[in-house]
Assembly symmetry: C2
Homo-oligomer: 218 residues x 2
């Protein structure tokens, strides 16, 4: 029986990977990592979706992250930057080494439950500011995960060459209900529509000529 | 100012790396990772030593590890195997992907405090049963840590080709007081003298013609 572990934040990209995995593997287990995000809306969204889909879901807490990495716009008290994702201000949203940490814990989980693959929703839009989202990093980690698991687990980032618009296109084709996903860096009732994450998401829907089912403040 | 992060368990190997780092770097910060070990003697030992040495010390908890990786002789209820380290029974002491997880968190810490290196006390005696202690894995992780930190952090395992006896030799030459280190897999008042970890430690002192300063049950 084929089994996959999906690192699932509750956001749009990993929601799409989750569906992709459900369609490809006999059993899918989702892993959500709390690393001190300033709000829990993504995690709550992940819990709801996993319950709806009947997917095994583990939420693990790295609540020490802010203590060891210092202040940051995603985990701390620095303002969430507005504007486009590729701008310099987005550097504030880098949580150091986040993906390596998530991959390494997901690999332990995969070894523990005899799953053959760990999947992440990294995409090409992340490459510029996040060094741990680049293809060269992914390829290296794939090798390391295979070494650490003695070939039992591999790493897959099926959307690493996709734009976010490509991901939305694929997700819509798979029938995903994106009203149950959370992308905004702020955790208010509605999405802000102004942070890099919202802007990128709105653009991705627009490029698909589809209205984003989430409600926005602007 | 040169700064290092040492992954320090409270055991003999990482105690030696810690001293090595103190001798080589302007500032050393120790990181201890709790991953559900069945006893806390190593961690308490690490705390005491860091206090004595005046080294900044962070202890982080991955208390979810047993939940995600299942039962294990180090974290769970399976008996700690007795006998030599290289025997098959020692497989029970493998905590899946432990080193990758520790390296990845230590890298985040290093980025956070602008340290240029993460150091671990991996040695050649671990290579047979622990895939994440082998040199090829270390070299791969070194590359990936450099990628993830955009060249700001590297990985060093100065004892990766050493035997445990070589480490003890180096540590004694540096004047380390090994009475303040804990190696035994069991967490009783005295070290058991029978688990793989005790046997290996005793052998290492014997090969140096030095009496281990710890007290043993046998």
């Amino acid at each position: 029986m084929s089994k996959a572990v999906v690192v699932y934040s509750g956001g749009l990209d990993s929601r799409t990977v989750l569906q992709h995995a459900i369609n490809e593997y006999d059993e899918v287990c989702a892993l959500t990592v709390y690393y001190g995000q300033r709000h829990s809306k993504e995690i709550v969204s992940a819990m709801e979706v996993c319950k709806l889909l009947g997917v095994t879901h583990k939420v693990v807490s790295l609540d020490f992250m802010q203590d060891i990495v210092g202040n940051n716009a995603l985990t701390g008290t620095i303002d969430v930057p507005e504007g486009h994702y590729e701008s310099k201000s987005m550097k504030r949203t880098v949580v150091p080494n986040r993906n390596m940490i998530m991959m390494s814990i997901a690999t332990a989980y995969a070894i523990g439950i005899s799953a053959g693959v760990v999947m992440l929703g990294v995409h090409s839009g992340d490459h510029i500011i996040y060094p741990d989202c680049r293809e060269v990093f992914f390829l290296g980690m794939k090798d390391n995960i295979e070494l650490a698991s003695e070939g039992k687990v591999t790493l897959a980032c099926p959307y690493i060459t996709y734009t976010k618009a490509d991901i939305v296109k694929e997700g819509l084709a798979m029938g995903i209900d994106y009203s149950k996903s959370w992308t905004c860096y702020n955790g208010r009732l509605k999405s802000c529509g102004k942070c890099g994450s919202c802007i990128e998401r709105l653009e991705a829907f627009e490029l698909n000529n589809v209205k984003d089912p989430l409600e926005y403040e602007v």
